[in-house]
């Protein structure tokens, strides 16, 4: 009995350690989101962050480049994957802007209106949920356009 339990625990451990490849735009580093939420990042800094984010996304999307001998269907899937990734990056960038607007510091894009803070924060959470829930490896294989249910 004890042996079976050990085996079961071992199998569960192995399975939980497996990581499945997903192409998902990751969240921004914690120090950036914290600064935006607190309103301590000024406009110039925010501009740099947005530029850096999208520039890095572009580099990654380019890395999906098809090989010279890839078939048409494979190339098409990789193109769609890059398109999806760039779109999610833009969505994340917009989400981060809403996060900055939800801060209590109007000097850095925030607002003192608590109702609006809540609205902006909810928008941020909604957009980030969409970003983290979109696997571009899967999204690119969907042929029929599907509108997000949150809209």
């Amino acid at each position: 009995m004890k042996k079976h339990l050990v085996q079961a625990l071992f199998i569960v451990g192995v399975l939980s350690s497996l990581s499945f490849a997903r192409t998902v735009v990751p969240p921004a580093p914690g120090n950036i989101t914290s600064a935006l939420a607190a309103g301590t990042a000024d406009a110039g800094t925010q501009l740099v962050w947005h530029n850096q984010l999208i520039a890095e996304c572009t580099t990654i999307a380019i890395s999906f480049q098809p090989a010279q001998r890839d078939s048409y269907l494979t190339a098409k899937q990789k193109f769609s994957k890059g398109f999806c990734y760039m779109s999610m990056c833009m969505t994340r960038s917009v989400a981060l802007d809403f996060l900055a607007q939800s801060s209590p510091n109007p000097a850095n894009g925030g607002t003192t209106n608590t109702t609006m803070q809540t609205t902006y924060r909810n928008t941020y959470n909604s957009l980030m949920a969409q970003v983290s829930g979109t696997d571009c490896d899967v999204a690119q294989s969907v042929t029929a356009p599907v509108m997000p249910t949150s809209y």
Binding site: C57, D70, A75, F79, P106, G109
Partner: protein, 309 residues
């Protein structure tokens, strides 16, 4: 006063710059930026108190560079290793991508309207949306096209010294649903005598089968796809005339690939990135106000930074 200067100078010039771009490589922004008039860098009131923001504070972590993704750009077109074909290392000779105009006239109208009413948030967001839509539409024109992976020179060598009455190429393409067109395959002799060159009709049926042939003499032949058969696998064959020709089953390999897809992919993603960074200036009220308040040289520098490809 300076608001008026901005309204009358910066936005019209910017809008003209946006619309006049006929190719991304030639993108440029005007140098005539004016200072934003009111000296306000945020467009909002100064912070008051230490009010906590509503909702959960995000705690996300990680970096883009740390992500992993499936697909590493490997793979082959099976035609290159078709039975009987020599394994010829392809020479990559992809042509430079074309330039495309990508900003529609509607952006001019919105940009002009925003120039007349620069604090109009609705117009600002409309302009951002139009830029993003235009960029996506433009990038979509760089999507892979059927047949592009087959573009290049297909080499088949016949060692038979006998006469070859014609050369033909057959191909069967796994396709998505859709129509099939016709194209041309150009055949020419690899020998010094180029007078054997000719054009053969390439036809595709609804099952994705294709064939092309060209009546010729003998020698080593290249079959060059110059149009867009739907992509997949292909086998080229030299067929000898008469009966029992030893070249009857010689397969061909793609010796020089002119597949433009990889370069087009890079171009498309670069355009999207540049456009999205540009659009963010109009999406974000704080960044929009920030750029407005920059001195002309700094503003010029920022907008020029979008032209990195």
């Amino acid at each position: 006063m300076s608001m008026k200067i901005f309204t009358l100078t910066l936005l019209p010039v910017l809008s003209l710059a946006l619309v006049s771009q006929t190719g991304c490589a030639n993108r440029s922004y005007p140098s005539g930026y004016s200072n934003f008039p009111n000296g306000n860098t945020s467009g909002g009131a100064p912070p008051t108190g230490t009010q906590s923001p509503a909702g959960p504070v995000p705690t996300g972590s990680g970096t883009i560079a740390g992500m992993d993704y499936a697909g590493n750009g490997t793979g082959t077109v099976s035609a290159s290793t078709a039975s009987g074909a020599a394994a010829v290392a392809p020479t990559i000779d992809a042509q430079a991508p074309e330039s495309y105009a990508y900003l529609p006239p509607s952006i001019t109208q919105t940009a002009t309207a925003l120039a007349q009413d620069p604090t109009n948030a609705a117009l600002r967001m409309q302009l951002a949306g139009e830029i993003m839509t235009a960029c996506a539409t433009d990038a979509a024109t760089l999507a892979p096209q059927p047949g592009e992976p087959l573009m290049g020179d297909w080499l088949a060598t016949c060692t038979d010294t006998g006469e070859i009455t014609y050369v033909y190429v057959t191909a069967k393409y796994p396709t998505q649903s859709g129509s099939f067109g016709t194209g041309f395959a150009k055949f020419y002799s690899a020998a010094a005598n180029s007078s054997d060159a000719g054009i053969g009709m390439l036809s595709l049926n609804t099952q994705g089968d294709a064939n092309a042939y060209y009546a010729t003499t003998y020698g080593t032949y290249l079959a060059t796809f110059t149009d867009k058969p739907t992509a997949g696998t292909a086998v080229a064959q030299l067929v000898s005339g008469g009966s029992g020709g030893v070249c009857s089953t010689v397969a061909a390999a793609l010796s020089v690939s002119r597949n433009p897809i990889p370069k087009k992919h890079t171009e498309a993603m670069s355009r999207l990135g540049a456009c999205y960074r540009q659009a963010m200036v109009f999406v974000s009220p704080i960044i929009y106000g920030y750029v407005y308040n920059l001195n002309p040289a700094a503003a010029q520098s920022i907008f020029s930074s979008f032209n990195y490809y």
